[in-house]
C-alpha cells in the first residue's frame, strides 16, 4: 500500500497525542502530576497540538476535504466514521479537563470526571483508528489481531516518553513515569516483533488461483498480459512494493530507534549518578528517536502491506 505522508503523520501524531492525554489524565487523577498552570498548559498544548495536527493532516489526503462533516454520519457501519465522531467528541471532556487544570488549577470533582472520560475516550479513539486498518480483509498485513494492540501500545508508549520528558522539564518526575515507559517500550517491542513474525510466516489466504478461479484447472496461474500499459490508480495506490532487503534494514532501524535506544535512555536515568540535566537530555533524546522510529514503523506498516487486487497484476501476497 502506498505510504502516504498525511496518513503516516496522522496515525503517529494523534496516537502519541491521545497516549499523552490519557496518561496526563491518569496521573493528575492519581496526584502524581500537580494541577499547576504552566505544566498543564504545555502538556495540554503538546497533546492537543499533536491530535489536532494529526486530524488536520488526515484531511489533506481527501479529494473533498470541505465535505469532511459528512464523514461523521455513518458510524453505524464505518470505523472511519466512528473514529471521526469520537475524535471530535473527545475534545469536549478534554477541553473541560484542560480548563480546570490550566485556568482553575483544579483536577478534582467535576474536572476529575472529565479527566477520566478523556482517558477512556482517547484510548477508544486510537482503537477505532486501528480498526480502520484491521477491518480491511484484502490486506492480510492489516487484517490481523496484532494491529489494534500495536496501535494502542505504540500510542501510549510514545505518549509516555513525552510525559517523562515533560515531567523532567517541570521537575515533577516520578519513577512511576519511567517504569511505565520502560514497561510500554518492552510490550511494544514484543508486539511489533510478533507482528513481523506473523506477517512473514502466515500463509496468504488468496492466490491468483482463487482470485481468478482458474486454480481449478490445475497448476499455477500466471499473468500473461496486462490489461493496460500505463500504471492505473490501483497500481499506484495498492501496488507500492518495498524490496525485502530494504524492509529488513528499516525494521532494524525501528528496533533501534523506536525500542532499543529509548529503552536504554529511559533506563539510564534510574542510575542515581546521572545528574538531572543529563536525565532531562536523555528523556528528550528518547522522544526524538522514538518519533523518528514510530514514523519509520508506520511507513513500513503501509509499505509492507499487500492488497489482493494486485494478485491480478501478477504480484504475490
Amino acid at each position: 500500500m502506498h505510504p502516504a505522508f498525511s496518513v503516516i503523520f496522522f496515525t503517529t501524531a494523534s496516537g502519541a497525542g491521545y497516549g499523552l492525554l490519557a496518561l496526563l489524565a491518569i496521573f493528575t487523577l492519581s496526584g502524581l502530576l500537580p494541577a499547576t498552570t504552566w505544566l498543564g498548559f504545555v502538556a495540554m498544548a503538546i497533546s492537543l497540538g499533536l491530535i489536532g495536527a494529526g486530524l488536520l493532516s488526515s484531511m489533506l489526503h481527501l479529494g473533498h476535504p470541505e465535505r469532511f462533516l459528512r464523514a461523521l454520519t455513518q458510524w453505524r457501519s464505518s470505523w472511519l466514521a466512528r473514529e471521526g465522531v469520537l475524535a471530535i467528541a473527545t475534545f469536549v471532556p478534554t477541553g473541560l479537563f484542560g480548563i480546570g487544570w490550566v485556568f482553575l488549577n483544579s483536577t478534582s470533582g467535576m474536572f476529575a470526571w472529565m479527566a477520566a472520560l478523556s482517558a477512556v475516550m482517547a484510548a477508544v479513539t486510537v482503537f477505532f483508528t486501528s480498526m480502520i486498518y484491521a477491518s480491511l480483509k484484502p490486506i492480510r498485513q492489516w487484517h490481523n489481531g496484532f494491529v489494534p494492540p500495536a496501535y494502542i501500545v505504540l500510542g501510549t508508549m510514545t505518549g509516555a516518553l513525552l510525559l517523562v520528558f515533560l515531567a523532567r522539564l517541570f521537575g515533577v518526575y516520578s519513577p512511576v513515569f519511567g517504569i511505565l515507559g520502560i514497561a510500554l517500550l518492552m510490550t511494544g517491542w514484543v508486539l511489533k516483533t510478533a507482528y513481523w513474525r506473523h506477517i512473514d510466516t502466515a500463509p496468504a489466504r488468496s492466490t491468483l488461483g482463487t482470485a481468478t478461479g482458474l486454480g481449478r484447472l490445475g497448476g499455477d496461474v500466471r499473468l500473461l498480459e496486462m490489461p493496460h500499459t500505463e500504471e492505473n490508480f490501483l497500481m499506484r495506490e495498492m501496488g507500492y512494493q518495498i524490496a525485502r532487503k530494504h524492509a529488513s534494514k528499516l525494521r532494524f532501524l525501528v528496533h533501534l530507534l523506536l525500542f532499543a535506544a529509548p529503552l536504554a535512555l529511559t533506563t539510564l536515568t534510574f542510575w542515581s549518578a546521572v545528574p538531572p540535566l543529563a536525565a532531562g537530555a536523555a528523556s528528550f533524546g528518547a522522544v526524538v528517536l522514538a518519533g523518528l522510529g514510530v514514523a519509520t514503523e508506520r511507513w513500513l506498516f503501509f509499505a509492507e502491506a499487500t492488497h489482493t487486487s494486485m494478485l491480478y497484476y501478477g504480484r504475490t501476497m
Binding site: 500500500m1 489526503h61 481527501l62 479529494g63 473533498h64 476535504p65 465535505r67 469532511f68 459528512r70 464523514a71 461523521l72 454520519t73 455513518q74 453505524r76 457501519s77 464505518s78 470505523w79 472511519l80 466514521a81 480502520i132 477491518s135 480491511l136 480483509k137 484484502p138 490486506i139 489466504r205 488468496s206 491468483l208 488461483g209 482463487t210 482470485a211 481468478t212 478461479g213 482458474l214 486454480g215 481449478r216 484447472l217 490445475g218 497448476g219 499455477d220 496461474v221 500466471r222 499473468l223 500473461l224 498480459e225 496486462m226 490489461p227 493496460h228 500505463e230 500504471e231 492505473n232 490508480f233 490501483l234 495506490e237 495498492m238 492488497h307 489482493t308 487486487s309 494486485m310 491480478y312
Partner: protein, 246 residues
C-alpha cells in the same frame, strides 16, 4: 446509508462472464468507457491522454492469464474484470459518508459523487480492485452496471443491457437477474458451474465466472520433415543433391 439494506428487493442483477468464449478483444472495456464517460458517473477522466504517463478511470479491465499447466498444456484465458456487485460488500460499509451504497431493489452498488469525500477507503476494502479514483473530480468511481442504460425506457428493450454485454462479439458476457432461477444468468451458472472470485472474502459476489471448458487436444498437423526427402525426390533432384553433397 452505508449499512447494507436489510430487506432485499425482488431483483439481484449481475453479469455472467464466460471465460471459455472470451477472446480478449477489449471491446467490453472500450464500450464501457464510451458509454460511461457520458453516463451516471461521467466523465471517466483521462489525464495526459495523449502523452506518456496517461492516467484514466476505467470500470472494466481485460487481463490475460495462463493456467492449467506448463508449455503446451497451458491454456490462455482472457479475463475481463469489473465490479461484481457483491451481496455483502465491505466497500459499502466502510464508507464514512454514505456516498457508497447498495440498492435494495436490484443489488447494484453505486457511489453518490455528491457525498463522496474521496478518502479512497472503499477502494482499499474491495478485494477485486473494482473501484478507481478520479483524481480530477476528487471522488471514487465504479461500474454502475450501466444503470442509466438498463432502465432507460427511451432505448429499445433489446438494448437495455450493460454496454459491455451489448458489445461483446463473442457473446461471452450475459446480464440478468440471479433471483430468477429461469433467467439466462441463473441457467448458465447452474449448467456451466459458474463460480465466485475469491470466495474466501465472504463478500459473496453476485456476478459469476464460467470456467473454460475442458480443451480437446488433437495431434496437430506437422510440417513436412526433411528425413526421407531423398527417397521421395525425383531422379533429377537426387542427382543435384549428390553433386552438391560432393
Amino acid at each position: 446509508m452505508t449499512s447494507l439494506p436489510s430487506a432485499r428487493g425482488p431483483k439481484r442483477l449481475g453479469l455472467v462472464i464466460d471465460l471459455d468464449t472470451c477472446v480478449g478483444c477489449h471491446a467490453c472495456a472500450t464500450n464501457c468507457k464510451e458509454w460511461n464517460t457520458s453516463g451516471h458517473s461521467a466523465p471517466l477522466t483521462d489525464l495526459n491522454a495523449y502523452q506518456a504517463e496517461q492516467r484514466g478511470v476505467w470500470f472494466n479491465r481485460v487481463f490475460t492469464f495462463e493456467a492449467g499447466g506448463q508449455g503446451e498444456n497451458a491454456r490462455t484465458v482472457h479475463f475481463p474484470k469489473n465490479c461484481l456487485h457483491c451481496e455483502f460488500p465491505d466497500c459499502v460499509t466502510v464508507c464514512p459518508t454514505g456516498a457508497s451504497y447498495k440498492r435494495a431493489e436490484d443489488g447494484i452498488v453505486l457511489v453518490d459523487a455528491d457525498k463522496c469525500i474521496g478518502c479512497k477507503l472503499c477502494s482499499w476494502a474491495c478485494s477485486y480492485g473494482a473501484r478507481e479514483y478520479d483524481e480530477d473530480a476528487g471522488v471514487m468511481k465504479k461500474c454502475t452496471l450501466c444503470i442509466d442504460k438498463i432502465y432507460n425506457e427511451k432505448l429499445p428493450e433489446a438494448d437495455r443491457v450493460p454496454a459491455c454485454v451489448a458489445t461483446c462479439p463473442a457473446k461471452a458476457r450475459h446480464f440478468g437477474d440471479f433471483n430468477d432461477p429461469e433467467s439466462k444468468v441463473s441457467r448458465l451458472t447452474r449448467e456451466r458451474g459458474g463460480y465466485d472470485l475469491m470466495p474466501e472474502t465472504g463478500y459473496q459476489p453476485t456476478s459469476k465466472y464460467l470456467p473454460p471448458r475442458p480443451g480437446k487436444r488433437t495431434a496437430g498437423a506437422s510440417l513436412p520433415r526433411e528425413e526421407g526427402g531423398r527417397d521421395s525426390a525425383g531422379k533429377f533432384l537426387r542427382w543435384v543433391d549428390a553433386v552438391l553433397s560432393r
